[in-house]
C-alpha cells in the first residue's frame, strides 16, 4: 500500500457527478455538419490543407501542424468541405477563429488506417512523430500537444508515468467513464507512453469517489507488472498535475517548472487511449468522450462525440430545456467559461458541457470589499497568497505579482469559491497573467527593434563614412595629379592652345 500525502488547502464543493451516470457511453447519431477549428490546442494553429468543395474521408488530415508546438486536425467523418472561415470557437473570449466546416454525406467512410505491427520494435522518434501526426493534444482540458511532452530529451529522464484519472472538478465524469469502459486500452496506452519516455513505473491515480473506475483499472492493471493503481481522498483540486505529484510523492514541482523536472510525466486517461489508438490502430484523434450534464437536461450523460459537433446538437440530444437553463458552460463549474454561441463546436479540450438551472449554479453575487479574512490563503492548493495577489493585480504591479509567484497559480478557483466577499479572484489572476505574458512579448519585440535600429544606424554611419572616404580619395588623387603636372584638364587646355596657335600660323 502506497503512502498518500496531503496538499495545502483545497475545497469540497458538491460533486454532482452521478447526474451524468458515469460509466455508460451514449453514442451520438451522425451530425449533419462539423465545424473544426484549426486551433484546438496550445501553440501555433494548424494550416488548412483542403479547399472548399473538396471531398474528404474520415481520418484524412485537413489541416497540418505548423511549427514545433502544433498538431494537425483530421476529418472525423466523410463529406465535403463547405467553408473555411472565421467562426465562433470555444474560448473564454467568445471571439471567432478560422474553422473548417464539413457537410457530412452520412456514409462515414474512412481512409485506410495503418497501425504499427509492433511498437516495441519501432524507433522512439517515429513513435513521437506518429503521436504528433495523429493530432493528439492533452484531452484533460488544457490541450497541450502530447508529442512535445514525449519528445523532451532531458538528461534526468522520466522515471514515473502518472495516468491522472483524478477528475476532481464537480459534474465531470468523462475520465471516470473512459476508465470504466476502456480500462484495458488505458493500460495499453500507458505501457506505450512509459516505453516512449523510458519510465520504469506507472501510477494510475484515481480519486476515491470513483470506486468503479478504480476497480476497473485495478483489474486491467494486473496485466502490467509496472502499473499500480493508487486511490486517494477526494478533494478539489487534487487533479492539478502539480497537486497530484505532491499527493503521491510528497514532492513539489519547482516554481515555474514542469513535472519532467523531477522525472515525472502526467497524462490523462483519454490521452493514453488516443495514443494507443494512434499507434496500434493508426487512428487519428477525431472523437472524444464528453460529459453533457446539468439539471436543465432531461437526458444527461457521457457521450462519444465527433470533434466539430455543434454544442447545440449535443444539447438537443440530451433533451435540453432552454426555459430552465441559465447558461451553458464549456468545461466544469470551477474552471469553465460560459458559451456565448451554441453553434460553437466540441473540440479536443471539451471534457464537459454543463447546462445548469438558475438555482443549481446561481449567478455570482456582487463583489464586495476584501475584509482580509485570509480564507483564500488557506484554500490555495499552490500555497500562494491570493489576497496579496489580488491587491497587486488591482494595482497592475506586475513586478510584485511575479515576485509573489502568480505564474504558479493554477487558476483552480478555490480562493474565489471560499471568498466571503464574492471577489472573482481568479479573473484578476487570469487578467494579470495575460498582462504579464503580453508585456513579456512586447519586451522581446522592443529588444529586437532596438537591435535592428542600432544595426541600421551603424550601417548608415558606415555607408556615410565609406562615401566620405571615397570622396577624400578622389580629391587627393586630383590634387596629386595637379601637382605632378599631368592634369588632364590642363593638358587639354594646352592642346587646344597649341592647335589654335598652329591654325593661326597656317593662316
Amino acid at each position: 500500500m502506497r503512502q498518500i500525502f496531503d496538499i495545502h488547502g483545497g475545497i469540497h464543493p458538491p460533486e454532482r457527478k452521478e447526474l451524468a451516470d458515469p460509466g455508460y457511453v451514449h453514442e451520438m447519431p451522425l451530425p449533419s455538419k462539423l465545424v473544426l477549428p484549426i486551433s484546438q490546442h496550445i501553440g501555433a494553429p494548424a494550416r488548412p490543407v483542403v479547399e472548399v468543395g473538396e471531398a474528404v474521408k474520415g481520418g484524412q488530415m485537413i489541416a497540418e501542424a505548423q511549427g514545433p508546438v502544433s498538431v494537425p486536425v483530421h476529418a472525423p467523418s466523410s463529406g465535403t468541405v463547405t467553408a473555411i472561415e472565421s467562426r465562433a470557437v470555444p474560448h473564454a473570449s467568445g471571439l471567432t477563429a478560422t474553422c473548417i466546416e464539413i457537410s457530412l454525406d452520412g456514409s462515414d467512410s474512412w481512409i485506410d488506417l495503418k497501425g504499427l505491427e509492433d511498437w516495441r520494435e519501432t524507433p522512439k522518434p517515429e513513435l513521437v512523430e506518429r503521436v504528433r501526426q495523429a493530432g493528439i493534444a492533452g484531452l484533460g482540458g488544457a490541450g497541450f500537444p502530447t508529442a512535445i511532452k514525449l519528445a523532451s530529451d532531458r538528461e534526468l529522464g522520466i522515471h514515473t508515468l502518472i495516468i491522472n484519472g483524478t477528475e476532481c472538478e464537480p459534474y465531470i465524469s468523462a475520465d471516470d467513464t473512459v476508465m470504466q469502459c476502456c480500462a484495458r486500452e488505458i493500460v495499453e496506452g500507458a505501457e506505450i507512453l512509459a516505453h516512449m519516455v523510458g519510465a520504469q513505473n506507472i501510477i494510475l491515480a484515481v480519486e476515491d469517489n470513483k470506486p468503479e473506475a478504480a476497480e476497473a483499472m485495478e483489474n486491467a492493471a494486473q496485466a502490467l507488472e509496472i502499473a499500480d493503481v493508487v486511490t486517494f481522498p477526494t478533494k478539489y483540486p487534487s487533479g492539478g498535475e502539480k497537486q497530484l505529484i505532491e499527493i503521491l510523492f510528497d514532492m513539489q514541482v519547482p516554481s515555474g517548472g514542469i513535472p519532467a523536472d523531477i522525472g515525472i510525466l502526467c497524462q490523462n486517461p483519454s490521452t493514453a487511449v488516443a495514443v494507443r489508438d494512434a499507434l496500434i490502430d493508426g487512428k487519428p484523434l477525431t472523437d472524444r468522450i464528453t460529459t453533457v450534464t446539468g439539471m436543465s437536461l432531461k437526458k444527461p450523460g457521457n457521450r462519444r462525440v465527433m470533434l466539430g459537433t455543434p454544442i447545440r446538437e449535443l444539447l438537443n440530444e440530451a433533451a435540453f430545456d432552454a426555459q430552465t437553463a441559465d447558461r451553458v458552460i464549456h468545461g466544469g463549474p470551477m474552471m469553465g467559461f460560459a458559451v456565448t454561441d451554441l453553434d460553437m463546436p466540441v473540440v479536443k479540450i471539451t471534457n464537459c458541457i454543463l447546462a445548469p438551472t438558475r438555482t443549481e449554479i446561481p449567478s455570482p453575487q456582487p463583489q464586495q470589499a476584501c475584509i482580509r479574512c485570509g480564507m483564500c490563503a488557506e484554500a490555495c492548493p499552490a500555497s500562494l497568497l491570493p489576497q496579496q495577489l489580488y491587491w497587486y493585480a488591482r494595482a497592475k504591479d506586475n513586478e510584485q505579482l511575479e515576485r509573489h509567484n502568480l505564474l504558479d497559480c493554477i487558476e483552480c478557483g478555490a480562493c474565489a469559491y471560499v471568498c466571503p466577499s464574492h471577489i472573482p479572484l481568479v479573473q484578476y489572476y487570469r487578467s494579470a497573467k495575460g498582462a504579464i505574458r503580453e508585456a513579456a512579448n512586447e519586451k522581446v519585440r522592443s529588444d529586437n527593434s532596438r537591435l535592428r535600429f542600432e544595426a541600421r544606424q551603424e550601417r548608415l554611419e558606415r555607408e556615410a563614412a565609406a562615401k566620405e572616404a571615397k570622396r577624400a580619395a578622389r580629391k587627393a588623387a586630383a590634387e596629386a595629379r595637379a601637382k605632378s603636372g599631368d592634369d588632364p584638364v590642363q593638358a587639354a587646355i594646352e592642346r587646344a592652345k597649341a592647335k589654335k596657335v598652329s591654325q593661326e600660323a597656317e593662316q
Binding site: Q368, P424, Q427, S431, S449, R452
Partner: protein, 207 residues
C-alpha cells in the same frame, strides 16, 4: 614643533583629519580614474524601458536620443506608443512623479503595423529608406512588403509613399492576444446598502 602639536590636542586632531582626507581623496581619485564606467548606464536603462518604436513622436530621432535627453533632464511624458505604462516605469526608475502623457506629442493608441497594398506599390523604395528598423523588403521597381514581425508601427513609411499604398492596421486582436479583462469593480464601491445610489428619483424621495 612636535611638542607644540602634542600640547594642543586640537591641532593634533586637525592634522590627523587633514592627513586622512588627503589619503582617502587620493584613493577615491585613483579609483574614479581606474574603475571608470563607460558610457551612461542611466540612459541605457531608460532606453530599455522605451518601446523602441523609433517613431520620433517625442521630437527626437529615435528612442536612444530621447533616452539620452531624459537622462539629461527632459520630461518623461513625451512617448505616446509607450503610454501610461512607460511613464510609470520611467517615474519608478528616476524616482520622479509620473505625469500624464503630453498630448502635444500624440495620444496613446493601439499598436499597429504597416501593411503595403502590394497591387498599388510602384517600387520607389522611399518607404524602405524611411523605415528605422529595416522592416521593409523590396528593391527599385520591385514590389515592397513589410516584415510584420519586425515592424514597430512607427508610421514613418506612410508619409513618403507617393501612391499612398501603405495602411496602418492593428497589430493585436484575435484569440492569440486576448486575455481576461480585470473584473468590473463598480459593484464593490457599494459596500453598505445606504451607499448605493437611490433607485427613487429625487421627486419621489422628496414626496
Amino acid at each position: 614643533m612636535i611638542e607644540m602639536v602634542l600640547a594642543n590636542p586640537i591641532l593634533l586632531a586637525l592634522a590627523a583629519l587633514v592627513g586622512m582626507a588627503i589619503v582617502f581623496g587620493a584613493l577615491l581619485g585613483f579609483a574614479a580614474v581606474r574603475f571608470e564606467v563607460e558610457g551612461n548606464p542611466l540612459s541605457d536603462q531608460i532606453n530599455t524601458i522605451l518601446p523602441q518604436t523609433q517613431c520620433g513622436q517625442c521630437g527626437y530621432p529615435g528612442c536612444r536620443p530621447y533616452a539620452e535627453a531624459i537622462a539629461e533632464g527632459d520630461s518623461i511624458n513625451k512617448c505616446p506608443p509607450g503610454g501610461e505604462d512607460t511613464i510609470q516605469a520611467l517615474a519608478n526608475l528616476l524616482d520622479v512623479e509620473p505625469e500624464p502623457l503630453d498630448a502635444e506629442h500624440g495620444i496613446e493608441a493601439e499598436p499597429t503595423v504597416a501593411f503595403i497594398r502590394e497591387d498599388e506599390c510602384i517600387g520607389c523604395t522611399k518607404c524602405i529608406q524611411a523605415c528605422p528598423v529595416d522592416a521593409i523588403l523590396g528593391a527599385a521597381k520591385q514590389m515592397h512588403t513589410v516584415i510584420i514581425d519586425e515592424c514597430t508601427g512607427c508610421d514613418l513609411c506612410v508619409e513618403p509613399c507617393p501612391v499612398d499604398c501603405i495602411d496602418m492596421i492593428p497589430r493585436k486582436g484575435g484569440i492569440q492576444h486576448w486575455y481576461w479583462p480585470l473584473p468590473n469593480e463598480a459593484a464593490s464601491d457599494n459596500i453598505i446598502a445606504t451607499d448605493r445610489p437611490s433607485e427613487n428619483t429625487p421627486e419621489q424621495a422628496a414626496a
